[in-house]
Symmetry: C2
Subunit: 345 residues, 2 copies
């Protein structure tokens, strides 16, 4: 992929030259950004807001496979997964730092693709790139992103605020990113066995995009604000619905009833899961990487949101003694367990 | 190093269990920390200060060699190199996030050592650990740290404020970390050739410690404050004196005269450099990792600092047309060049 010798070798630029080159089109847009790239630290002026900070690391071979992940998409996704954490606090992201470790075999053009994706995501969500670190890596590609967001104290939504009777809501649909990954993995195997066979992803754009190019749900944060709803608890779906709901219940010290039939699953996700002999519900519960928002609202807010097709009400919060329950389509009650992604297995 | 099978395998804990376990002794100390670990993002309340943010990534095989780097020292150093960036802005660090990527072959006890070093550094400098990410790595150990600091706008010292006639100052001594690294590398080679020969580091504690366990110079920031001196420009010495001074001159659009004979070099650094047939001045100019503070002050501040033995005055700032000059001990004028560390070479 990176063996074209017409390309520019990054060690010709050196670290500072590379940073200058890659970041020259990133303009400062936010009034809270006093000083961005180019000193020992960036300087921010939050005014009278609270500052929120979150960080995520993406490692080659663990979080992405360059065999089927275009670098531009990877840069875009690295920003999205971080923005999603700030939206999950009901806050607005404004700055990111990006640290990259990469092998010296990468050409400048390859790294430019990565930064192009970062740039598109920053532009789309109006965030400033304000710093980072760029270094060689002996092994795979390493991307570490930190995001800063701002909110008034009264607007911040933690995981621990769910109350008995609150409705459990989720945006969009679930399981697609995981099923998309299975598809990409299968086509990679087919290709490795016979490079003459072209990948067969026809008609599967939606779930492939769910995996490669997720969108953090700023629109859901905006929707809730416009309807005058402050969620009582919120988290983004990175590890799977079950794991996230358990986080909310554990931190709020509550139980839950989650209804399988209410979990939103796109028809393509459903059908493709079946092709792989996977249970679509399990894909939604444990697949992860959907970057939808899972949140709880007071019952009195139900009328404000009931007609929004992009938000599904999937259950409700109970007293802790009632347990953590998944009610299946046939009406059976199962204990809800997080079998989500464990990076160490 | 990590093959003792009595130890605890980290995949038994899972990601969330591991984070809980490793961070349970990190208590929140700062009033600016509203919410630390445990939600989608940490929440900070900076009051009416400016917020400063900096980030550094350390990769196995590039920035450290576990053959001679104890994990506890590595954790300590990872925090120090980040704190140093905030001190270099004349500000006070208060929070850090730490993201770790590691092979599943690491035992829990090994990662605890790493976090013990992080803990000691956080306690010593009074900073709160407020978040991060913990993931598997297919290859080497990856550490990415982000630090947040605070300062009044009037106190922040950028790289671009040096004026003609300002004195160039540096804290401590230079080149030791680089020469210490040469020593560690040599002893590693001797050991690899014959494991029966014990490393010979006797009497070399100082330079070994400069490499493995650097100290960010909060005392210099405090000293300047107590003397009523605000540096006109400041940077920390991570890539070598030459590279850092060129950053200040370039960003301030000035020239400089740097005097070789004034560059502070510890006798052990000097002698050991000579043993390796290295020029001690080159080690100071290009070695890096000293984490001393390089700063410029107005001439009128000279009397306030002239008796401080831990601060050396090594030259002065000139008009840009005068160029970037290194005046050797014999009085010859050379162009100052950054041959510092390039991670891509």
């Amino acid at each position: 992929m990176f063996e074209n010798t017409d390309k520019t070798n990054i060690n010709e630029l050196g670290e500072f030259g590379l940073i200058d080159h890659l970041t020259k089109n990133f303009e400062i847009k936010k009034s809270t950004t006093v000083k961005g790239i180019g000193d020992d630290a960036a300087v921010l002026n939050p005014g009278d807001k609270k500052v929120l900070i979150s960080t995520d690391m993406l490692l080659e071979g663990i979080h992405f496979d360059l065999a089927y992940t275009p670098l531009k998409h990877l840069g875009y996704k690295a920003i999205q997964v971080n923005l999603s954490d700030i939206f999950a606090m009901n806050a607005i992201p404004q700055q990111v730092t990006v640290s990259i470790g990469m092998s010296s075999k990468y050409t400048l053009e390859a790294i430019e693709d990565l930064y192009e994706g970062i740039y598109v995501a920053c532009e789309k969500y109006g965030v400033d790139l304000i710093g980072g670190d760029t270094t060689a890596s002996k092994q795979g590609l390493v991307i570490s992103v930190t995001v800063l967001g701002y909110a008034d104290e009264k607007d911040i939504t933690y995981r621990n605020g769910a109350e008995e009777g609150d409705l459990i809501c989720v945006s969009g649909d679930l399981g697609g990113a995981y099923v998309g990954l299975q598809l990409l993995e299968r086509e990679k195997m087919v290709y490795l066995e016979n490079p003459n066979i072209q990948p067969d992803l026809e008609g599967k754009d939606y779930i492939v995009e769910r995996q490669l190019k997720p969108e953090a749900r700023v629109d859901v944060v905006d929707l809730l604000k416009s309807r005058g709803i402050k969620p009582t608890a919120m988290i983004d779906v990175s590890d799977g619905l079950a794991s996230e709901l358990l986080h909310i219940c554990k931190q709020s010290n509550k139980g839950c009833n989650l209804y399988e039939e209410k979990i939103p699953i796109d028809p393509m996700t459903y059908d493709t899961a079946r092709e792989f002999n996977l249970d679509p519900t399990v894909c939604a519960l444990s697949g992860g990487e959907d970057y939808e928002l899972l949140f709880t609202i007071k019952q009195t807010d139900y009328d404000k949101i009931k007609h929004d097709v992009d938000v599904s009400i999937i259950g409700y919060i109970t007293e802790p003694a009632a347990g953590l329950n998944l009610i299946s389509k046939s009406g059976q009650v199962h204990e809800l367990k997080a079998q989500g992604w464990n990076a160490f297995e």
